[in-house]
Amino acid sequence: MGAIAALKGPAHGGATLAARNMLDKIGSAENAEKWLTDAHAKHERFSGFGHRVYRTYDPRAKILREMARTAAPDLHRTAARTEEIALKILHDAHPERPNATNVDFWASVVLTGAGIPKELFTTMFATSRVSGWTAHVLESLSDLRIIRPASRWIGPEPGRKPLQLAKR
């Protein structure tokens, strides 16, 4: 349940839905350049781009991209053009960052082609990832040590005295 709760966040599993929502707003391949340029000017985040770990093209995105071509030809056209423009804008803005399309971007197109309503995208992700979650739970059983990191204190200097309610 904790893993499902984390996957729900738009910065994690909810990104597939966010990518599809962005493609819906863009609407067509012809509109991609205008929409993305405007969105970038307004400092909006492009959904479906960037990943903490991959520094080259996500291997899963590559496979899904090919599948998308036959699974959802219309949306694929919009998405391919969106990808091209978005990567160009991101590269121009931050040439030092290795920006790449992530798995959520092309997964949204493939799931659309498979006829999955977009509200169920994150649950489809969970249907797959539950095998990984459970594998990690089993693995952690062999190395039981409570995960309890430290924190850095940035609050008030310790030791101040509380005022009684009547004096506040």
Binding site: M1, G2, A3, I4, A5, A6, L7, K8, G9, P10, A11, H12, G13, G14, R52, V53, R55, D143, L144, R145, I146, I147, R148, P149, A150, S151, R152, W153, I154, G155, P156, E157, P158, G159, R160, K161, P162, L163, Q164, L165, A166, R168
Partner: protein, 376 residues
């Protein structure tokens, strides 16, 4: 082989800084717990749980008007949604109360969908925990739920809804102190869990459900009932040493000892121990003897390690004196800690960056899969 690792694997993330926080600080070297700059000993017996929850959420103690406002909001949120009530009634009577809490908190929160975490949502969630637990407890006993009272505070209402009658002022004060003491504790496992979930921009309910799941574990919040069970097995102060020496030979763990952070006496345990002395003399007599023997044995085994009782040890005696059944010890921990969890979720959401550490791959070198037909 590893994926662009830039630091060594640290089991349990011990010593790795998981967050910056102004909510609470565990000063392990000096045995101090600090909430927003206030040392716990200055809050524990003078403040209501509501005042401390406000402090954790807003960074300052409330004025009288602010506290009255909070009390009204809590009172308005002590009822369950229809879906949550139906779900609670559908659970088998022998369900673990932590599973009840995890499930019903989840359903109680579905109407908020993917809302941004806010203080009003934190109040709403915190208010519901005692109601959920009390309704389930009474259902186990075949009793009708009790409607909370607007004139009672959080601790008093919890006991009133459980027992159907108002608890005495001493008992209410003791539960209030327990709730204040346990409300937050640095980057403990359940709080870190809540912050990890918050970092994905998920909603408050999702964070709390994950935190409850972490608190359920015996290595975290699940220990106080285990303390009682072990003390029951020991039985008498005279039996402590023989039982415990024998237990050690069988590699049985002493429940309620050791903490990753404190190197001296846990300041919460100190307060709870004194409360046990006053409220639960039978427990106190046995527990202090067990503490003495356990520390002696642990010191003999590992003289280099600083050993001490942890908060669970004397919590058990206080919660027992309050009259809570031991299955409700860990859930009552959650009634308190929800204040800290939600404060951390608000803090994480305000300065967010997804928490996504790295892992060290220790599996086989990349290899080609053999098709099913060729695998024999």
């Amino acid at each position: 082989m590893s994926t662009s690792t830039n630091s060594a694997y640290v089991p349990g993330l011990e010593g790795i800084i998981g967050a910056q926080t102004a909510i609470s600080m565990v000063d392990g070297a000096n045995g101090r717990l600090v909430y927003q700059g206030y040392v716990i000993a200055d809050l524990a017996q003078q403040m209501s749980f509501e005042e401390v929850a406000y402090l954790l959420w807003k960074g300052q103690l409330p004025t009288k008007a602010q506290l009255d406002g909070l009390a009204l909001e809590l009172a308005a949120s002590r009822t369950l949604t229809q879906a949550a009530t139906i779900a609670l009634d559908a659970l088998p009577a022998d369900t673990d109360p932590m599973d009840v809490l995890r499930s019903v908190v989840s359903i109680q929160g579905v109407e908020h969908r993917l809302s941004q975490p806010t203080v009003p949502l934190a109040i709403h969630a915190a208010a519901s925990f005692p109601t959920i637990l009390a309704m389930f407890y009474r259902r186990q006993l075949g009793l009708e739920p009790v409607t909370p009272r607007r004139d009672l505070g959080h601790a008093a209402n919890y006991l009133y809804m459980m027992n159907g009658k108002e608890a005495g002022p001493e008992v209410v004060r003791a539960l209030n102190t327990y709730l204040v003491l346990l409300a937050d504790h640095g980057m403990n496992a359940s709080t870190f869990t809540a912050r990890v979930i918050a970092s994905t921009e998920s909603d408050l309910t999702s964070c709390l459900v994950g935190a409850i799941g972490a608190l359920k574990g015996p290595a975290h919040g699940g220990a106080p009932s285990a303390v009682i069970e072990q003390l029951e097995r020991i039985g008498t102060a005279e039996n402590a040493e023989p039982w415990m020496r024998d237990a050690r030979k069988q590699k049985i763990k002493f429940m309620g000892f050791g903490h990753r952070v404190y190197r001296v006496y846990d300041p919460r345990a100190k307060i709870l121990k004194e409360m046990c002395r006053q409220m639960n003399p039978r427990f106190y007599e046995l527990a202090t003897r067990v503490e003495e023997v356990a520390l002696k044995i642990l010191h003999e085994e590992h003289p280099e390690r600083p050993q001490s009782v942890n908060v669970e040890f004397y919590s058990a005696g206080v919660l027992q004196a309050i009259g809570l059944p031991k299955e409700f010890f860990t859930p009552t921990f959650a009634v308190s800690r929800v204040a800290g969890w939600s404060a951390h979720v608000l803090e994480q959401a305000a300065h967010n960056r997804i928490i996504r550490p790295q892992s060290e791959y220790i599996g086989p070198e990349p290899r080609k899969p053999v098709p099913l037909a060729e695998r024999g």
